[in-house]
């Protein structure tokens, strides 16, 4: 009996080993991965915009430097993820093209506006906090390049959530206006951060297959619960009120139970009707088009130099 590529793939998955770029893999596995890694990469890149919105207005030089370094990290993370996707036989150019033309998506969370400095704290604490919960789980994803990108990203992101929380800590110890600014930010960012984990498991179309392939290791609802359990006590320490009257601690299970998520809002944003959906893509496309002459010039120069060398 000959051992097929498929046998070896299934064996690798069963043994909790990593699948590597040149291995045989089912089409569906490759497609699912490309889609997920590309969406992840796009999210990092589009995610630079809401926070970038406050770099020029950061209240102190230290906060400005930290925020700039953080947004720069996001560019780096986008780069690592596009590289991981490229090992699957697609180019970054093509993926960016699909993003620019609306054929691939990024996380809905980045379609919300950053309206005050406190939003930068809330994004760090809640959005990065949610991302980290998810990304830690993804470090054990079955595709090698994706898993390695996650390890690198998790290591680098460990400061991101802390810097957000530290912004909020300063606000919590500050004036009435600062505490109001913080509360307003939490009111606006709490539910969208919970939505980041995706629809409930029962309605999640791809979860089952992705779990089988070990692309996904933990389900949406489990990750969401983990995030809520770790975040609520941190919020209590800040003295914020979560905008959820049903939020209660269940003594029996030891979990914080949340009220109903407004899935209509979630689906509306996924469908492209987020507050800033159009602006985010327009800004990205604008930067890309403005850079065309630079990219072309650099390519032309490289060709000239290599011709001169061979001449």
């Amino acid at each position: 009996m000959t051992i097929t590529g498929e046998d070896r793939f299934l064996e690798t998955i069963a043994a909790d080993d990593k699948v590597e770029p040149r291995d045989w893999m089912p089409d569906g596995y490759r497609k699912t991965l490309i889609r997920q890694i590309a969406q992840h990469a796009h999210s990092e890149i589009i995610g630079m915009q809401p926070e970038g919105n406050w770099i020029t207005r950061a209240p102190t030089l230290m906060r400005k430097i930290i925020l700039m370094a953080k947004v720069q990290d996001e560019a780096g993370h986008g780069l690592y993820l596009y590289s991981a996707a490229e090992t699957l036989g697609v180019s970054r150019d093509e993926l960016q093209h699909l993003l620019h033309t609306g054929k691939q998506k990024y996380s809905s969370i980045f379609n919300y506006p950053t309206l005050s400095w406190a939003d930068i704290g809330a994004i760090g604490w809640l959005v990065d906090g949610a991302a980290i919960v998810n990304q830690i789980a993804l470090q054990s994803t079955s595709y090698g390049p994706y898993a390695r990108a996650m390890v690198r990203i998790c290591k680098e992101e460990s400061f991101h959530a802390r810097q957000g929380y530290s912004i909020l800590l300063a606000l919590s110890r500050g004036s009435e206006a600062q505490r109001a600014m913080m509360q307003d930010a939490i009111d606006r960012w709490w539910w969208p951060s919970l939505m980041m984990f995706g629809p409930p498991d029962a309605e999640s179309t791809h979860t089952e297959q992705s779990m089988k392939w070990k692309i996904k290791r933990v389900t949406n609802d489990e990750l969401r619960q983990q995030f809520v359990d770790q975040t609520v006590p941190q919020g209590q320490h800040l003295g914020v009120t979560f905008p959820d009257p049903d939020l209660t601690y269940d003594e029996g299970t030891g979990h914080w139970m949340i009220g109903d998520i407004d899935w209509d809002e979630f689906w509306a944003v996924v469908k492209g009707d987020g507050r800033l959906s159009r602006e985010r893509i327009a800004a990205k496309v604008h930067a890309w088009e403005e850079g065309a002459w630079v990219r072309e010039a650099a390519t032309a120069y490289a060709e000239k130099v290599s011709l001169r060398r061979t001449a």
Binding site: L79, S83, V90, F197, H206, V270, R295, E296, A302
Partner: protein, 112 residues
């Protein structure tokens, strides 16, 4: 999942074909030496128009937390990789005599 956007029922999605006409800069593999005495090891890849740009980009992308003291960049197309790991590498798994643990040395002989 955090960065996974669910499909909308009935949505027309487009998967990348892998045959998109390339306009972009070529891909380079980046190798970083973390400190003196250690080998350069593969850190990741990036796009750059030429080797000088690739070295600079590698510095900015892969050493911004002081992860290295030297970088190599190699055009990804210059990497020639092995295939068929079964034929190439599995035969070596069956040569226990190459490993020191294969040999029993009496304790009284001491460290060897």
């Amino acid at each position: 999942m955090t960065y996974e956007v669910p499909e909308i029922p009935g949505e027309q999605t487009e998967d990348p074909t892998g045959h998109y006409e390339e306009h972009g800069w070529p891909l380079w593999e980046v190798f970083v030496r973390p400190k003196r005495g250690l080998n350069h090891s593969h850190a990741g890849s990036l796009h750059a128009p030429d080797a000088e740009a690739a070295v600079q980009n590698a510095r900015d992308a892969y050493t911004r937390r002081a992860e290295g003291i030297s970088v190599w960049v190699v055009p990804s197309t210059a990497i020639y990789a092995s295939d068929d790991s079964e034929a190439m590498f599995e035969p070596f798994e069956d040569r226990p005599y190459r490993h020191p643990t294969f040999y029993d040395i009496p304790e009284e002989v001491g460290q060897m």
